[in-house]
C-alpha cells in the first residue's frame, strides 16, 4: 500500500484517536499511545512490507472461536494483508496495546474509523485485549511473554520454507520479567533465528513503575548475553528507529529497545504516575481538565463528550 501520510502524522493521528476514545469512554490505554505511537506508526507506515487488507474495512462481529464446528473461522491478521511468502508478519505481543494498534490500522488506511467505535462492545471482534480474531492480530498474546516465542517459531519455519518475508514482534518491557522471554531469546540464538523485535521500554507496568514492582536491571546487556543483537534508541526518534532496523544481526534475533516516556506529548498524564497502565478518570473535573490539556497538546479541539 502507498503511504499517504508521514510517519509523524500517523503517530499524531494515533494519539488523537486514543485520546478521543479515552475521553469519550472515561478511560483508556492513554499512556501506551504516548509511549508507543512512533513505533507502531513506523512499523505500519514504513518498515513492514504488507499486502492490501483482505478483510472488510468495517470489522465483522465476533464469529466464534476456533473449533471443528466453525470451519469459516479466521484471525484478524487479514488487516495486515495476506500471509504470503514475500510479505512481513507482525505480532503485537502486549495485547493490551490493542487500542493503540487499532488506531494505527485506521491511520494507515487498513480499518475504518467505525472499527474503533466497536472497541470493547459486546459481540464485537474489536476486543479490549486484542484477541486472535481482532483486527491486526494473528494469535492471542494477552498472556504476556508468549509473543516472541511464537514469532521465533514462525520465523524459523519461514526461513526453512525459503520465504523472504520477515517476522516482526512489537513487545513491551514488562515482558522481560517473564522467564519465557529469555527462553525465547536463547532459542533464537541457538537456532540462528533472525526474528526482529521492537520493545516499548516505558518502564511502566500494571502496578506502577517497573523499578518498584520488579527491578529488571540492564536489559540491553542481558539480551546481548542471551545471544541477541540489541540496540537501544530514543523511541520517539524515528530516524534512530530507521537506523536500528538496518543493523546486521545475522543468525541472531534483533531486539530494538525503544526508550520512551509514558507521558510523551501528554504531560498532564504525569499527575497519574505511577498508575498509568489504564487511566480511568477519578472525577468529572479530572476528565475535563485532561480533555482540555491533552487536546491543546495534540492540536485539536476538546472532545464534546456526554457528561
Amino acid at each position: 500500500m502507498r503511504n499517504e501520510k508521514t510517519t509523524e502524522d500517523v503517530a499524531l493521528g494515533i494519539r488523537r484517536r486514543v485520546f478521543e476514545h479515552s475521553i469519550r469512554n472515561n478511560g483508556g490505554y492513554l499512556s501506551q499511545a504516548c509511549s508507543s505511537a512512533e513505533q507502531l506508526a513506523w512499523l505500519y507506515n514504513e518498515e513492514l512490507n504488507l499486502g492490501d487488507p483482505t478483510l472488510p474495512m468495517i470489522p465483522k462481529p465476533f464469529e466464534g472461536v476456533p473449533s471443528p464446528d466453525n470451519p469459516d473461522y479466521h484471525t484478524g491478521a487479514g488487516y495486515n494483508g495476506p500471509a504470503a511468502p514475500e510479505f512481513d508478519r507482525l505480532f503485537i505481543a502486549p495485547a493490551h496495546y490493542a487500542l493503540v494498534a487499532y488506531a494505527t490500522l485506521i491511520e494507515v488506511g487498513r480499518m475504518a474509523p467505525e472499527g474503533l467505535e466497536m472497541f470493547n462492545k459486546d459481540g464485537s471482534s474489536v476486543e479490549m485485549i486484542g484477541a486472535e480474531h481482532s483486527p491486526g492480530m494473528e494469535v492471542h498474546n494477552g498472556t504476556l511473554g508468549i509473543g516472541l516465542s511464537t514469532a521465533a517459531g514462525l520465523a524459523w519455519g519461514r526461513r526453512r520454507r525459503g520465504e523472504p518475508g520477515r517476522t516482526w514482534v512489537f513487545m513491551s518491557d514488562g515482558e522481560v520479567q517473564e522467564g519465557q522471554t529469555w527462553e525465547a531469546v536463547q532459542a533464537c540464538a541457538h537456532h540462528g533465528v533472525e526474528v526482529k523485535a521492537i520493545m516499548d521500554v516505558n518502564d511502566q507496568q500494571c502496578d506502577g513503575a517497573m523499578s518498584s514492582v520488579m527491578e529488571v536491571g540492564d536489559i540491553k546487556t542481558k539480551f546481548e548475553n542471551f545471544g541477541a543483537t540489541c540496540i537501544e534508541i530514543d523511541g520517539h526518534d524515528l530516524s534512530a528507529m530507521r537506523d536500528a532496523a538496518v543493523e546486521n544481526h545475522a543468525d541472531k534475533p534483533l531486539i530494538i529497545l525503544s526508550r520512551t516516556s509514558p507521558f510523551h506529548t501528554m504531560p498532564i498524564l504525569e499527575e497519574r504516575f505511577p498508575r498509568l497502565h489504564y487511566v480511568r478518570f477519578k472525577s468529572e473535573d479530572e476528565r475535563a481538565r485532561f480533555n482540555v490539556s491533552i487536546a491543546k497538546d495534540l492540536g485539536v479541539d476538546p472532545v464534546d463528550y456526554v457528561h
Partner: protein, 334 residues
Amino acid sequence: MVEMVNRPYASAFEKFAAGNPDILCMSADLTSSCEIDGFRDRHPDQFLSLGMAEQNMMSFAGGLGLAGFRPFIHTFGVFMYRRPYDQLMASVAYPRRKVRLMGFLPGVTTPGGMTHQSIEDISVMRSIPNMTILETGDATEVESICEAADSIDGPVWCRVLRGTVPRLFDTPIKVGEMRELSTGDDILVVTAGICTEEALRARSALAKAGLSIRHLHLHTIKPFDHNALLDHIGSVKSGVITLENHVTEGGIGSLVAETMADAGVGKRLIRLGLKDTYAHGGSRGYLMRYYGLDALALVRGIEDLVGAQFGISESDLDAARVDDIHSLAKAEAL
C-alpha cells in the same frame, strides 16, 4: 507368552516421520529418554532441540504450526502441561495448531515420583477445548500412534509407552473407536493404557469363577463414542468397573460416569485408579499394587461390584511382567 517389543516408538517414529519435510521432531533435553536419539542422529534437519525451556517450546511449536509444520513434541508428559499450561492453551490448543504432544512416562510408569508422574493429564486435557487425547496400551498402539495422531486436524495429546512394551493387539489404533477384547454379559470392564494388560491377567481367573466379562480398551479418550459405550453397558447385567493409570477424577472413570449419568443409566459403577492421591517413586509393579491399579485390585473391585468373594489370589492371576528398572531399553532408570 506375550511378545515383548523393544523401543517400539523409536522405530515407529523414524519410519513415520523421516523424509516428510512438514514433520518436525522437537525435544526438550529428553531425547534418548523419549527414544528419538536415533532419529536426531540420522535426520538432523528434521530435529529441533529446544532445551529445558518448555514454555518457549510450546509457543515456538505454535509458531511452527502457523508456518504449516506439524511438530511432534517429545518430553515426559508432566513437563508438557504442568509448567507450560498457559502456553499450551494460548499457543497450541486455542488456535488448533497441528502440534502432536508425545507425553512419555504416563502415570506410575516411572519411579521418578510426583515430579515425573503425569497422573492428572487426561483430566486436564479432557477439559481443554479442541484437544484430542490418545493413549497407548501396547506395542502395536505405540507403533501406530504417530500416524493416528497426525491424522487429527488440531492438537493431540498422546500417552506414549517406551522401553520394553508387550504386544497385546494386532491392529493399529483407529481413532474414535474402542477395542472389544471380550463380549461377556455380566460385567463391563473398561481400561486404558497399561491397565489393560492388568485386566487381561485377571481374565482366566474371572472366567474360572464363572463371571462373564465384557472388556473394552480405550485408545481414544477424546473424542469419545458415548453411544458405543452405552450399548456395551446395556449388554451387561451387573455393572461397570473402570481401571486407569491416572487419578479417578477426570480420567476414563469420570468419562464413563458422565456417559452413564447423561443417559440416566442406573447401573453401578466402580472407578479404580489413583484415589485422590499422589504416588511416590518405585517400580511399576510395586506402585500398581500399592495404589490398587493392578489385576488383583480389579478382581477385588469386581467382587465388590457383584457382592461375592471368588477366592482369587495373586497366584491365580496370569504371570505378572516384571520390568527391570535398569533395562538397556530405557535411557535411564526412570
